[in-house]
């Protein structure tokens, strides 16, 4: 069966520090991968999606970037965090764009 992992589970970072969040999927090949941000426990905002290694589409211009160095690995990064980057970051995968998306457990990021 397929599983999706995210780490770290929680992170507290100072403003201006870098960020790296990792997402990995097991049990499937060539998944579509997604990064979402959820603010205030509601509303999911799509940040990035990827259909393959090195292929990243950005939905919202912002202080973040994404990379997909391996088929089942998706990384969310920032060079300098802003207070507004605080939130709950969710990674998701699907086998195709018309398939259901399955979410990971999330990373709670607090920028102080």
């Amino acid at each position: 069966s397929q599983t999706i992992h995210q780490w770290p589970a929680t992170l507290v970072q100072p403003v201006g520090s870098p960020l790296s969040l990792e997402c990995t999927v097991e049990g499937t090949s060539n998944p579509n991968l997604y990064w979402y941000r959820q603010a205030a426990g509601r509303g999911l905002q799509l940040l990035f999606y990827s259909v393959g290694i090195g292929q990243i589409s950005s939905e919202v211009p912002q202080n973040l970037s994404a990379s997909r160095p391996q088929d089942r690995q998706f990384i969310l990064s920032s060079k300098k965090l802003l207070l507004s980057d605080s939130g709950f970051y969710l990674c998701a995968w699907s086998l195709g764009f018309t398939d259901t998306q399955y979410f990971g457990p999330g990373t709670r990021l607090t920028v102080l």
Partner: protein, 116 residues
């Protein structure tokens, strides 16, 4: 046009009652409508989904009703239980545009509380 409007924002239901959450959309390019359930501190989990060629889908105590002409769909939770207390999101899948993948558009969520 890409929005999915969800209501109510919060809902309190007595144990054993029926919980009803509504969503509406404008874009006829949407063709897949999932509902997700999210517990505090956890990622959303798929609950039930429907395609527009079906007017109703039932899975256990959860039912989706879909009205294509009105561009509305709703989630009904029968015999609501305290364990159903969570945030529920409706979503709509937008077909891929040229040079783009399709994407899920989420409603803003409904916080359901089922009182014992």
């Amino acid at each position: 046009q890409q929005q999915v409007k969800q209501s109510p924002q919060s809902l309190i239901v007595q144990k054993g009652g029926i919980s009803i959450i509504n969503c509406a959309y404008e874009n006829t390019a949407f063709d897949y409508f999932p509902w997700y359930q999210q517990f505090p501190g956890k990622g959303p989990a798929l609950l039930i989904a429907i395609r527009p060629d079906v007017s109703e889908k039932k899975e256990g105590r959860f039912t989706i009703s879909f009205n294509k002409s009105a561009k509305q769909f709703s989630l009904h939770i029968m015999d609501s239980q305290p364990g159903d207390s969570a945030t529920y999101f409706c979503a709509a899948w937008m077909l891929p545009m040229p040079n783009q993948g399709g994407k899920l558009i989420f409603g803003q969520g409904t916080e359901l509380s089922v009182k014992p």
